[in-house]
Symmetry: C2
Subunit: 422 residues, 2 copies
């Protein structure tokens, strides 16, 4: 048989899965620290839910895996975790608000594949549904900082506000019906550079003077207060600017700081207020590792009823993994490997004692000689091995080997446990 | 829009997800304690892998969700975790043996749905590939006991051996080519009772005397030693009996005990040695919650090459959840809910302090009054709330309320932290 994986998918081998699990567990811990509760939804959704007007949109629908069940019902593999959350909210009308949920799960896109583009990948979303307070936006930024601190990654969060961007475009003289397209062009500034943005704006029939005005504002320099002061001078009254100021004030109050960046746009059209992107400092991962914002209209529009203000972000588990894997050399969670030297019964007892003491333990089950076993433990990266020989057993001793230094010591099982627990 | 879930699927709401995660985390911890490493494989597999001769078989293939990608490639949603593991072993020929892996993930069956039959459900598999030693079988039994001990469930493991069953049927005079069908009938003893088994055997043209002989053996009473002695008296030499004796000896050596039950058959035809089923004592969950056995030929046959002895079991996460949920009343992982009384800035600081101390904390973001907030915290089952009023703040105090007893106490933030951490 020709063994192959489906195009655009991959196995996560133990060594990588250990690192991925560690990231996911850290994120979960922090989400719960901030009062978010876990949700799980099926990987399959009805196709009419995935394709409904205010769901993911046409572009994403083209990349949706479609299938039918035996009853000829149209289904699809979910392409994100937001649509399932909206459906869940809609199907549970008695739910208390705010609904603070996180969800970590696989999503699917039947699109082009590339070096870091897969057809199945992990999404990790945190959202508050039901609250329109900027304190919720601030809480999510604090959560982002706490999460990356726990992951030992130094990050900066850039924030902006969609209402403010609209006010800025009003000030520059861009008509309302053109603003969405202009914002989508501005979104390309970070990735493609200023010339691409200028070119796109020109194509949208915006005159050079107006383009200059927009670019000047996007280039405003200084610290948060200085930038806000300059913009305030121009646009005067702005709900968006007030929201940003309140967000930054709330953050300062709890000892966090975000970078206000009026050029931050975020590509998706459903954002209505705060937008945010998180970048790792001094990393070869240049793209954002956590992004999102406030989307006060989407859930209500999707459900066709009710008022569901919401704010949320999505963590890029795969990119975080890429940033961490250079640092992380841990290939196994196993602490010690027991090598019986014609002492299987006694060795099994010793392995059990180590496990009962809470130490992750493996033991040879292949009846191999000591050198083959050492090679095996080494290939797995297990940090300690213990040899169980007859002579040593008579003296109630074991020979513990530190695989890194190669140092060997004779000691009792209790001392082995003490050493490995410390 | 008519919001619906695909037939046979369900949402796992936060309250249930918390309990499910706890089970899964406990199992993972124990798997790693025994030296097993995690593996993740895609939810999609190529259809020709899923349908290959030694994969899941025709019955399961009828229930496989099929789909195509945009390149018209035939895919399917995986129906178990064993086929993906075999594929992974085949695609990684340099892998060191034994390969001790666990995998927890969703699988799909497009079959009939019922009260506890879903089209998407969680499987949780632990397997050792590459070792034919009974010490590996014993290790897996020890792992099962350790896992259920950690889950606070009292279980018994029933064990038998397929080779022994064949030897017993030889002794009874059943021809080799009929033995598989007879074993599948014996498998129904526990669920359907003795009369159904007798009826089925009759249909297979087995005479009454032979049926009587089989039933007598299946009904053998006594402790493990007594049962083994009786069978030994009849069948004399038996590799299967020797294996069972060695398994029980190994288990005793590490202070565990399994129940030898010669009537245990396990429905699947690929088992070649040890078979095991685990039952919870004194529970309304009567079905087995963890089952499996040794399958020394399957992986080699599937891959069309190599010798890959293997032993493994599958934990029934959903059934374990059913057994635990009566006991488990925990509705949230949030420990404390902060209620600002016109003190949002100060309250956010206090929430941050609690979170920095590692206490799972939530805070009102709806600007609600105290009684509405109390009702909210109560509906979520959060065990403590803290009121942050201006007057109390002046005295550096907070009012902590124990939601269960209703008792309220004035104390400093440090004392609140101390109390909740203890």
């Amino acid at each position: 048989m020709d063994l192959q994986l489906p195009k655009g998918t991959r196995d996560i081998a133990p060594e990588e899965k250990i690192a991925k699990d560690k990231i996911v567990n850290t994120l979960k811990e922090v989400f719960e620290l901030y009062g978010y509760a876990p949700l799980e939804t099926p990987l399959l959704e009805k196709y009419d839910v995935l394709s409904s007007k205010y769901a993911g949109g046409n572009e994403i629908l083209k990349e949706t895996f479609r299938l039918k069940d035996q009853g000829d019902r149209e289904l699809g593999l979910r392409y994100d975790l937001t649509v399932p959350m909206c459906r869940f909210v809609g199907m549970n009308p008695a739910m208390k608000m705010p609904f603070k949920r996180y969800q970590i799960g696989e999503v699917f896109r039947d699109g082009p594949v590339g070096s870091s583009r897969y057809r199945q990948f992990t999404q990790c979303d945190v959202d508050v549904v039901g609250s329109s307070s900027m304190s919720a936006d601030a809480e999510i930024m604090a959560l982002i900082y706490s999460a990356f601190k726990k992951l030992n990654l130094d990050v900066v969060i850039k924030v902006n506000n969609r209402k403010l961007l609209n006010d800025v475009l009003d000030y520059c003289g861009i008509e309302k019906n053109k603003q969405e397209a202009v914002i989508l062009s501005i979104d390309k500034l970070e990735k493609m550079g200023i010339d691409v943005v200028k070119g796109e704006l020109k194509k949208q029939d915006i005159d050079d003077k107006t383009i200059g005005k927009i670019i000047d504002i996007l280039n405003i320099k200084g610290n948060n207060e200085e930038k806000i002061a300059q913009i305030k001078n121009m646009i005067k009254e702005s709900e968006g600017l007030e929201e940003i100021q309140q967000l930054l004030k709330f953050l300062k109050n709890i000892n966090f700081e975000a970078d206000f960046d009026v050029s931050l746009a975020r590509g998706l059209s459903y954002y209505t207020g705060t937008v945010a992107e998180t970048f790792i400092k001094n990393s070869n991962v240049k793209s954002s590792v956590c992004a999102g914002g406030r989307y006060d209209n989407m859930i209500g529009a999707f459900l066709g009823k009710g008022n569901f203000p919401a704010v949320g972000v999505s963590f890029g588990v795969d990119r975080i993994y890429d940033a961490i894997k250079q640092k992380n050399k841990q290939k196994t969670n196993t602490k010690i490997y027991v090598i019986p030297i014609k002492t299987l019964d006694e060795s099994m007892k010793i392995a059990q004692k180590l496990r009962d003491a809470g130490i992750n333990t493996d033991i040879d089950s292949m009846d191999r000689g000591p050198s083959k076993n050492l090679e095996f433990a080494n290939s797995l990266g297990i940090p300690y091995v213990v040899f169980v020989g007859k002579k040593e057993l008579e003296d109630n001793k074991l020979k513990l080997r530190d695989m890194k230094s190669g140092k060997e010591e004779l000691m009792s099982i209790d001392d082995v446990i003490k050493k490995l627990k410390s």
